[in-house]
Amino acid sequence: MACVLVHIEADGDTPGATSLEALGEGRRIASSSGATLYALVAVPRGGAVGDPRRVARAETLPPFGAEAATASAHQRLVDALGQGGADKVVFVDLDGPARPALWATIGPALAAACAQLRPALVLLPATAGSHDLGARLAARLGAAYVAEPVLEQGPRGEVVLSRQVYGGGWRRRTSLEDLDRAVVVTLPPHRAEARGSDEAEVLLLEVKAATDARVKLLDDGAADGAGLGRARVVVVAGGGVTAASWPLAEQLAAALGGELGATRALCQRGVAPPAREIGVGARHVAPVLYVVLGASGSAAHLAAVSPDAEIVAVDKDADAPILRVASYGIVGRIEDVVPRMLAALRQERA
């Protein structure tokens, strides 16, 4: 493998946390396979970060004024990506905005950059736009596509992309060594970042790729349940939770510093707001800790939970299917168990 490329979503001069985690994973794979790691940033012409061409001559710019400001913003981004493990930072000019990061906005430019750099592995942070972007990028490149896998080591030490299917219990595993083509992969959050150096090389790539003018953003507003996607801890309330016990779920989520979600059954009963639904076709989550209160663990629910989440199940039924897939469990009524969990958490912190 000669080249691993990571797409970076950045807010001005700051790369997104999930992008840096994907970069860290890219660093580990590139190091083990002797590949060069490219961090690619699509930059709108005249945007907050300015013209990437100025990075190369930042030292010659005057010490103040707009040009110096944009040049140093660019340099900060390069530094952050170098420290995150990138060997080379690639800037690609866009003829429109880079946000929201969708195929229509940045896809053609990203594909054109891939056509030039010919990466064997393209990593995208699993953000709201990566699903829109990644699958079509793979199709454009004639590449394989693996959505939100965990990375495992195969018997020969090779990297295996392993994704949960059928709502758990089964994995579809793709070995990077067995592939006869490039692969595009979206990576969920909460992966370890890498430590690189300040010496990433900067590459400015001229690509001719127009944004898709047939897709026009009309408005873009905040959504309820916004924190679920990146939450480190998620408590999910299932059909065993009632309107009376819902506040206990809220308190547990708050005590664990996490976010509260709900299954479709609970949303359909009107106990939980629909924006908090976790499941296929609703929110997908990738927490480190996933606390399930009174949910059976249907395939449609668990397919939306990252397979490397540690599941803790609280259920009154000792035969509940969720207890077969959870790592930790307790059998009991939510009204009895959760208050004691809250008390134990308070006691530990006191």
Binding site: G16, A80, R214, D219, G270
Partner: protein
């Protein structure tokens, strides 16, 4: 907008290996796609064509649901000449079928419930060289354009799209039971799958057409051209090992175990936020 047909891409929800295919017929997103396609068909006065790939024993039931719900035509593509194929092979077959029926608006489920990759819709758009949008919740018609609401996790976005376009639709929002109960179900199996299409269903389903079976060569698809991508399908493996949860005897013991396994540690500081505040990576 000319009343070109609207294509809705459906697929029978796959049972786990070894299990019988007796559960839900349509996944949640496919149900959303069928609902959106029928609504668009009613608004544009356009016929809706349901398209599926696979054997009759698996896919005819899903196409029958689509016809009863109000689709004017149902087409099943026989893929028995090809082996296991990846998302791009499926997309090649479906793109050829969409060209065959002349659809300019294509509606698909955002992600299937079994495999969940969500790759086929965007790949079809690439092969048809048209726009696409994923995570679509609702679609309206405005003149010759469509306006789609996209659920982007932490954002809700609205887009204007000019056909031809592929829309990848999420599940219908979970309506509270009172609202759901107010509308009579078409059929027990289909109640959740097609909640918003009843008027269109009544209008179109007076005579139920039969399912058309189409061969790959009818669509100009060479089986060998879609088959060689087996390495990218991946190998299916059953997860073995944990054998169920480690049960705690009390809530206090559960918290103690989680703490001992370092699962209750506070999240590390957001590195991006740290950088913004000048604290370094």
């Amino acid at each position: 907008m000319a009343a070109a047909p609207i294509a809705v891409l459906l697929r029978r929800l796959q049972a786990r290996p070894g299990a019988t295919e007796e559960g839900e017929v349509l996944g949640r997103c496919e149900g959303g796609a069928l609902s959106v396609a029928l609504e668009l068909g009613a608004r544009l006065d356009a016929p809706v064509v349901a398209i599926s790939v696979g054997p009759a024993r698996r896919e005819d039931r899903v196409l029958a649901v689509a016809l009863r719900a109000g689709c004017g035509r149902a087409m099943r593509i026989d893929d028995s000449e090809v082996g296991e194929i990846d998302y791009l092979g499926v997309a090649q077959i479906l793109a050829a079928a969409i060209r065959h029926v002349g659809a300019r608006v294509v509606v698909a489920g955002d992600r299937s419930q079994d495999e969940g990759a969500g790759a086929v819709g965007p790949a079809i758009a690439e092969l048809l060289d048209c726009s696409h949008l994923t995570s679509v919740r609702r679609v309206a018609v405005e003149g010759d354009a469509l306006v789609a609401v996209r659920d982007a996790g932490d954002r809700v976005q609205r887009f204007r799209l000019q056909p031809p376009v592929v829309l990848c639709v999420q599940a219908p929002p979970a309506a509270p039971a009172a609202a759901a109960a107010a509308a009579p179900a078409l059929d027990d199996d289909e109640a959740e799958a097609v909640p918003a299409s009843r008027r269109a269903a009544k209008k179109r389903a007076r005579t139920v057409p039969t399912i058309e079976e189409v061969e790959l060569h009818d669509l100009g698809v060479e089986p060998r051209a879609v088959s060689p991508r087996r390495t990218s399908v991946g190998k299916l493996r059953q997860v073995r090992g944990k054998g169920g949860a480690s049960l705690a005897g009390s809530p206090e013991e559960l918290i103690e175990r989680l703490r001992a396994d370092r699962l209750l540690e506070p999240a590390p500081a957001d590195p991006a936020a740290a950088r913004r505040s000048g604290a370094g990576p």
